[in-house]
Every structure is written in structure tokens, then in C-alpha cells.
Symmetry: C2
Subunit: 377 residues, 2 copies
């Protein structure tokens, strides 16, 4: 078991990563202090892991109310929130009931926002079951639901009491989702740790083979890198924006194609290549570094070419992004393969050229959507 | 203009109270820093004051998006929240847009929760226009909407950037609502300032005559008393519960009669009498003090008799209150007329006796609902 402390004053918490983390008696007891828990999961993850977690909770004397949501981003909605509120209110849960999010990013975001807002805040424990949620979304306290006019538009910053990242759950993860998680790992290396980037170049195959040691390593390092940034800037007013590396382009891909066409991590993978391309065009990194980024993203099983859309469409999708303030676009760009910075007032021509270059490859490969991959290796 | 600083570290803010506070150039500029504001009001308050505030904002270069909600507690709902979200998203407001709540407690709670959750948190400025919201709900960062299964069940703790309590708005306040606000002022004296309680006994008539100096005094003292407690306990895990003095009984009255039958402040007024009664029965204060509380509440124009319901109904309504933890009821009781404390495991017989005594008067006066009073003095 590897453990990381997220230092946020009175809101500090532990992340424990490794096999069997969700049922680890000591960590579970520390995470769920009260006598009741609302276990929120979905129709895919629930049948696989909810019994195991529920038994561990009951063994320590915690009564469990199980709430099962439909699976998928399409259900990251008010309706799912209300399912949780209704169940907890009907069961007369008070604000000492711990909400446990067992699932991927969608369950974590919805259950997290429910915890943030149930009677103005109930304790929250994240039990992420995808690589993406283990290395990214379960760390840092972001919770949200979607709105018809935009993704993640309604939410809160709300820190969990603990994160239990059980690597056993990655055995059943579809290959495409494993790759999507690796996009955020690559991002963490690129923005904050040249050593992690180098390590990924050497060990990508071990990750794709799901070697437990390798997975535990990248979960721990990702959590450490992200946690250090979140500790500097809990509410995303400054340094935390570095975590958006690749996400401005990625958001435009997701929004432009329609959410769900590409996985978030797939869009981020291509977004990292585009951010590297833009960084190179502005003379911030040598062109050879763009190729290193592209190669690593491709080896992770991710698309590297921007889907063909008009450049104006891309720019439109970027300007409605909530990360744009006061109407100006902002980019996170690379200083090196291991350091990023926030850059404002980037010349529009460079952005257009980067998109065209990124799409040129797409047109050549005729890849409007990522290639199909087998569900499990 | 009287000003109070609420000390909450990086979330500290100023409360300014007095005539013309909402349009005070210096305070408004400090409160609304960005270039855009979403001015949330309702169909009653908007026509009276929104133009004045909007002109003051425009004069300082702040563009205003006005959002008008229907009036009343019945609209403290998801629907009203969505009205705000939709308008802000359609206008492409980003998270630097300040949400301004112009109205009473309902507008403050709904607009406050919208600000807390819009893109995970936009700046909030409270411009309370009722005495109740000026002395209570605008201070301390509680925001919420109602759920069909309970009042204020969904919400967040979210501090404003500033509170501008404009006493000019009290000139048009219906008398019944003025009295409702005075209930919370009496509460603040009872739980934290014997001097304020004595002052109220001497000056209640001046308040009912709406003398500006007297109103400004109780707004400032209420804010100071509440702010000091909130500073100790922002998220209501300890001392802040003292602010619930009278509210456990009051909640039962509101829920038992159906919300809206009595005003919140009216239920709190009677709740204070019942809390004093219970304190006396437990030997914590002399019986004569109960009479002083009852007399002051009555002089404020508030009901003092508990509406006739079965004691079991009262207890049921109290046990679903979110302030009950782990199934146990908890009471805030008086140590003196100026000091309160949290007491657990109060004997059920004493609670029943207090309710019967409180209702005995009700039966005598045949007062299931408070007497009608003229809309303005």
C-alpha cells in the first residue's frame, strides 16, 4: 500500500493506493468514522465491487445504504443527484452520514457534489475504480454535474475525508479506459516531473500489461504531483490551472464532437500533443520534444491527431470553456518536458497553425474518432 | 454607516449597515470587483430597488444581468436555481461574474447557493432587504434550497465577499416581517449579550417605529454577535449550534403547521419562549426570566403561544430536524438572559411538559396562527 497526504490544513486527507485498498480495515476505519454510510455506485461497478466494500463496512459496524445510479456521463445530471438526495432523505440520513463514491469519475463527481450539498455538507470518501479517477479526478476536491449548456457547469470544491484507490479494480478495466487514464499520468509528468516522463517512456509497456507495481507507482506519483499543486491553490485561482495542460484543446475536441464520442482522456491525450505543438511554435520547446510527446501518447494507446473540424469551430469551443476569463483565451504551455506555465494573450495565428498541423495528421490518417480497441487485453 | 468585519481568514468579509448602503460608491466598488454582475432579485423587491442598485453598478463600470425570481418560500427550489444557472450560462458568465442577492432570506439563500455552485463558485454579494436577512441570514455563509422532503436540505456553506445592509429598504417592510426579524435580534441578545437584551426591553418601541438609529444598532450588534460565533465555527460543528436557540421548537412549529403558515421569525419567537420554558423547568433559569422573554417577544409583535398539535407530532417534527445527530435530540438552553449552551440528552418528560405549558396558553388564546397585522405601520 502506498500512501500520500494531501496537505490542506483542516481539510487535509490521505490517499491510499494498492491492492485491496477499499477493504483495508485500518484505512477504512479511519476514512468512515460514523455509524452510517451511503454507498453510491453505478450499474456496472456495483455488481463487481459493492458487496466487497459493503461487507468491509458492516464488519466495522457501519450500516450501509446502497444507492445505484445508471452508468455513464449522460447520467451526470440533476436527476442522479436527486436520486441520491431522495434516498438519503427517505432513510433519514443526517449530515454525519458518510457518502462513499464507488466508481469512476462520473460517480465521484455526482456523489461528491451530493456530499458537498447534502444538508450543507456530509463527509465524503472516494473509492475510485478507474485509472483516470485514481490518478486525477478523485484527487483535489472537484465535484460537479453537467448542465444542458455545458459540462461541469454546476459543482463545488469539496475535499474528501480519504481516497482509497484499489488497484485490484483495474484488472477489469476496459483497455480504452486504461489508456484514457494514462493520458492524465503523462500530463502529470509533462507539467511537473521530468523523471516521471522519462519513466513512462521506459515503462509504458508494463503499464499496458497492468503490472501492479507499475500502476501503483504512477498512481502515487500522480497523486503527489497533483496534491502538491492543489495544496498551493485549492480553488483554482492560480497554479492549479497548470493541471489544465492539454485540457483547453481537449475540451474543444470533446465539445466539438459531442461529449462521449471521445473519452475525456483521449481528448486530453491529443490535447497534450497540440499543447506541445503550440509550445514549439512559440519557441518554448524544441520540435523534437513534440515528437517525444506524440510518441508517448500514441504508445499509451491514445489518439494523437486532432479530429477534423473548422479552426473557427475549435476556437468557439475554447472560448465558451469556463477556464476563459473576461473573454480572453489562456493556454497552459510547456517550458520543457517536465515543466509548464500559464501563458495569456497567445497569438491567435499560432493557435490556428497548431490546430491545422494537428488536423493535417488526422486528415492523413482519416481518424475522426479514435480506433476501436478490444475491451480488455 | 456602521461596519462589522467577519473574521474567517481568507474568507473574511465586511458587513456595512446604514441608509444608502447598497449604492455607497466605495463599499460597492470593494464588494463587486469584476466587470460583470448577475443581479438576482424577486418580483416584489426588484421593482422597488433593483434600478437603484443597477445604476450604481453601471456607474462604476459593472455590466449587469438582471434575474428576477418569483417571490416567496415556495420558490426556494431547484427551479429557481435553474433559472439563475440558465440565465448566467446563456449570457456566458464565467466564474468571475459576481452574483448579487437583492432581497430577503429566500433570494439570499437561492442566489447564494447558485453562486456557491456556479462553475464551482462565483463571488457573492448579499444585499439583504428585510430585517430578518440583515440581522441573520445574510451573515454566516449558509445557503440552501428546499427539497420536497425537507427545508434547507440541499445547500452549502459559502461566504459572501461583502454584505450591504441598506436600512432604507426597511421603510417598505410589512410590519409582520419587521417583527419576524426582531425575533432573531432577541435571540442574539439571549444567547450572547445580556446588554442587548436589556437594551431591547428599553427600546422595543423605537424599533417598531423604525427609528433609523435603533435599527442600525440592532443590525450591527446582531452581526457582531453572529459573526463572532461563525468565526469560531464556520461549518456548524460546535459553538455555531448556539445560533439554533429557539429553532428546534420553531422548526417543529413551521413543519407541523406546514411551512409558510407562520413566518420563520414568528416560529422562532415562540421557540425562544419554549426554550426559556424548558430551561426553567430544568432549573437553569428562574421562572421570572421566562416571563421576561415572553413579554419581550410579545412586545415585538410576535406570537408567544405554541400552536395546538399533539406533543408526539412536535417530537416527530423535531427528530427529523437536521440538527438531530445519530437519532438523539439536542437542545440549546439558556444559562441566563445573555448566555446559552448546548445540552444533550434532555429528559423527554421536561420537553413534553414545556410543550404542553406552551400550548396551554395557545388553547386559551385560540391562536393556531398569528394574528393578522397591517402591512405597514
Amino acid at each position: 500500500m502506498q500512501s500520500v497526504r494531501v496537505a490542506l490544513g483542516e481539510r487535509s486527507y490521505w490517499i491510499h493506493a494498492g491492492p485491496g485498498a477499499m477493504a483495508h480495515p485500518q484505512h477504512l476505519r479511519a476514512a468512515v468514522a460514523g455509524t452510517r454510510a451511503a454507498l453510491v455506485t453505478n450499474t456496472v461497478v456495483g455488481p463487481l465491487y459493492a458487496d466487497r466494500l459493503e461487507q468491509a463496512l458492516q464488519a466495522q459496524g457501519t450500516a450501509v445504504l446502497r444507492i445505484t445510479l445508471p452508468d455513464g456521463e449522460a447520467h451526470k445530471t440533476w436527476d442522479s443527484l436527486n436520486t441520491i438526495y431522495d434516498a438519503m432523505l427517505n432513510a433519514r440520513c443526517d449530515r454525519s452520514t458518510t457518502v462513499i463514491a464507488l466508481g469512476g469519475g462520473v460517480v465521484g463527481d455526482v456523489a461528491g457534489f451530493a456530499a458537498a450539498t447534502y444538508m450543507r455538507g456530509a463527509p465524503l470518501v472516494q473509492v475510485p475504480t478507474t485509472l483516470l479517477s485514481q490518478v486525477d479526478s478523485s484527487v483535489g476536491g472537484k465535484t460537479a454535474v453537467n448542465h444542458p449548456l455545458g459540462k461541469n457547469m454546476i459543482g463545488a470544491f469539496y475535499q474528501p475525508a480519504a481516497v482509497l484507490a484499489d488497484t485490484d479494480t483495474l484488472r477489469t478495466l476496459p483497455a480504452r479506459e486504461l489508456s484514457a487514464g494514462l493520458a492524465e499520468v503523462i500530463k502529470h509528468g509533462l507539467l511537473g516531473d521530468a523523471g516521471l516522463f522519462d519513466w513512462l517512456e521506459e515503462n509504458m509497456d508494463r503499464l499496458l500489461l497492468r503490472e501492479a507495481d507499475a500502476l501503483a507507482h504512477v498512481i502515487r506519483r500522480s497523486a503527489e504531483i497533483k496534491a502538491a499543486i492543489v495544496a498551493l491553490d485549492e480553488r483554482e485561482t492560480g497554479p492549479r490551472m497548470l493541471l489544465n495542460l492539454g485540457h483547453t484543446f481537449g475540451h474543444a475536441i470533446e465539445a466539438g464532437l459531442g461529449f462521449g464520442t471521445w473519452l475525456h482522456g483521449e481528448a486530453v491525450g491529443t490535447g497534450l500533443v497540440l499543447a506541445a505543438e503550440l509550445s514549439s511554435r512559440l519557441g518554448r520547446i524544441p520540435p523534437g520534444n513534440v515528437e517525444r510527446v506524440r510518441s508517448l501518447v500514441r504508445r499509451a494507446g491514445l489518439p494523437t491527431a486532432a479530429p477534423p473540424m473548422s479552426v473557427d469551430r475549435y476556437l468557439e469551443m475554447m472560448s465558451v470553456d469556463k477556464k476563459a476569463r473576461g473573454g480572453r483565451l489562456r493556454f497552459i504551455l510547456l517550458k520543457s518536458l517536465g515543466e509548464a506555465e500559464i501563458v495569456t494573450d497567445v497569438p491567435a495565428t499560432a493557435v490556428r497553425e497548431s490546430l491545422l498541423a494537428g488536423m493535417g495528421e488526422a486528415a492523413a490518417e482519416a481518424l475522426p474518432s479514435p480506433p476501436d480497441r478490444s475491451a480488455t487485453p
